[in-house]
């Protein structure tokens, strides 16, 4: 049976002056967390804006829960948007409003808002500054307030823009725990962008790497963990390339100070074929560096 898809991005294009999204396509399956990574200005926020309907597309389409928001009437559109919760990188609520007022605002906006769940989330996240205006909240408190609101809103898809950026390690872990716990229920999904790739390594089921407006990598977390980084000297690299075990154009090579880092698709297969070469598991950071800056060999 085909897996249900909560968010489907199909060949979207958008140009802004010297930047453009180039036929970006990927899915966020129901029950999955998709991590969106890339350098600053790579196009992550543009994709999120496109998903949220903040920008008009030059081409392509977006489907939320199987429906194209552009083709819905107003009532259908608001019902569809009620199934999506967005968490901004900064606490983007009116600075004068208190946490309690923000909660009330969500309660009025989302028909499925669960006040008891909001209170439960606040207790879990040690968020008790209900009467504090947003402008007086710390970065961590603001993020907790946003999370408590979107989770209590009854959303089925969360779109999270850098939710852990600027948080101390303890709060970061609390946020990630909340997201993991939220995913325990069926049919929920998350699209999350982050610079802190270690967070995604422990959280995401799929990784989408975007660079300069184009997707460089779209794979499962298992496929990521299967890849390896071989550290080779110049002679070893030449030998590897001359062997012909890897077809031309399938390896990514990045010159480091004393060696070459080579991204190999399967570190086990590589270790068996070349037991004399050092190969380590590839982290998302390594893969990103090699795909973005590496040379195709």
């Amino acid at each position: 049976m085909e897996q249900a898809v909560d968010l489907s991005i199909k060949g979207i294009r958008k140009s802004y002056g010297d930047f453009s999204l180039k036929d970006v396509s990927f899915d966020v399956p129901a029950g999955a967390i998709v991590g969106l990574i890339g350098q600053n200005g790579a196009g992550k926020t543009t994709i999120m804006k496109a998903v949220l309907g903040s920008i008009a597309l030059d081409g392509g389409s977006i489907e939320l829960f199987g429906k194209d928001p552009a083709k819905l009437d107003e009532q259908e559109l608001t019902a569809l948007k009620a199934r999506v919760g967005y968490v901004s990188a900064v606490t983007a609520y009116p600075t004068m409003m208190t946490v309690r007022q923000i909660e009330r605002f969500y309660e009025l906006a989302y028909p499925a808002f669960d006040r008891a769940l909001f209170d439960e989330m606040c207790a879990k996240l040690s968020l008790d500054a209900f009467d504090k205006p947003v402008k007086d909240l710390s970065r961590g408190m603001g993020m907790k307030a946003q999370l408590a609101c979107v989770i209590a809103s009854g959303a089925e898809l969360l779109v999270l823009d850098e939710p852990t950026a600027g948080l101390d390690p303890i709060v970061r872990e609390e946020v990630l725990d909340v997201l993991r716990a939220w995913m325990n229920a069926e049919g929920r999904s998350i699209l999350i962008s982050s610079h802190i790739t270690s967070d995604l390594e422990h959280l995401a089921d799929y990784i989408v790497l975007i660079d300069n407006g184009a997707i460089l990598l779209d794979c499962t977390a298992d496929e990521i963990s299967e890849q390896g980084i071989a550290s080779l000297r110049a002679g070893e690299l030449e030998r590897l390339l001359a062997d012909g075990a890897y077809a031309p154009g399938t390896l990514r090579v990045l010159k480091r100070e004393l060696s070459y880092a080579v991204l190999v698709p399967s570190r086990r297969a590589f270790a068996q074929a070349y037991p004399e070469f050092a190969v380590d598991p590839a982290g998302i950071d390594d893969i990103m560096a090699l795909l973005v800056k590496g040379e195709v060999r």
Binding site: K49, L52, G53, S54, I55, A56, E74, L77, T78, A79, K81, A82, V84, Y86, S88, V90, T91, A92, Y93, P94, T95, M96, M97, Q101, R104, F105, Y106, L108, A109, Y110, P111, P133, V159
Partner: protein
């Protein structure tokens, strides 16, 4: 829509202290002026009541306008709001509704406040309470309502189109347009129009139809303005 009105109201409520300071200042200056000018009781009532009931609501309404549109552009609030279960039309309509509510409530509140202050001032200065005639009060309310609605009908689409930071530079545009009345040819045209309006009022025997017509025209412009705002806001990107 209820949620959007609630958010707007919460934003305004937090700044009421700042607005009240300006209102107290206006009331103080007007009262002080009336005590120092050589006025009869009717004149003093006109100065105090007329000024407070017209200047204070307009100033307060413009404060609220700036607070609301200013907040839209802060910290990405606009993007968050658009991600929520609201349509762009609801966002536009709620802002128009909120500004209308603010103006109507302010006219009522400051109408009462102006009457109370005028009663006290005239009682202290002249030994008897004197207030503006009811027709004059009604005319002032109609004029304030019409002016503020027409002013907002011009400004709101500009703010929805450009956003607060750019549009605020154009906020005084209608005000400067009014300064054209200082030019002699414009004055002549205005005098001619005013003369015809007075003739019309005289022929009707009552200014009420004119007042109703003015308010109706202001509401019509306000409604047309909301449709223009939706048009420009529908295609705006954040």
């Amino acid at each position: 829509m209820k949620a959007l009105l609630f958010a707007d109201l919460s934003i305004i409520r937090k700044s009421i202290g700042q607005y009240l300071f300006s209102v107290v200042l206006i009331c103080g200056i007007v009262t002080f002026t009336s005590f120092n000018a050589s006025l009869d009781p009717e004149g003093a009532a006109g100065v105090v009541q007329g000024n407070i009931m017209s200047i204070a609501p307009l100033m307060f309404a413009f404060y609220a306008f700036f607070a609301l549109f200013g907040q839209d552009e802060r910290e990405g609030w606009e993007s968050v709001r658009l991600s929520m279960p609201f349509t762009r039309w609801q966002i536009v309509a709620s802002r128009y509704a909120m500004m209308l509510i603010i103006i109507v409530v302010l006219l009522a509140v400051f109408g009462l406040l102006a009457a109370v202050i005028t009663a006290i001032v005239t009682l202290v200065r002249f030994g008897a309470v004197t207030l503006m005639p009811a027709e004059a009060v009604a005319a002032a309310i109609v004029l304030c309502l019409a002016v503020s609605l027409i002013y907002l009908a011009i400004e709101i689409p500009i703010f929805f189109k450009m956003g607060f930071m750019k549009a605020r530079l154009y906020f005084t545009l209608p005000f400067f347009a009014c300064m054209l009345f200082m030019l002699e040819p414009v004055q002549k045209i205005a005098e001619s129009v005013a003369g015809k309006v007075l003739e019309l009022v005289a022929s009707m025997g009552s200014p009420a139809p004119l007042a109703i017509g003015t308010v109706a025209l202001a509401f019509a412009l306000y409604f047309i303005s909301s449709r223009i705002s939706l048009r420009v806001y529908r295609t705006r990107e954040f």
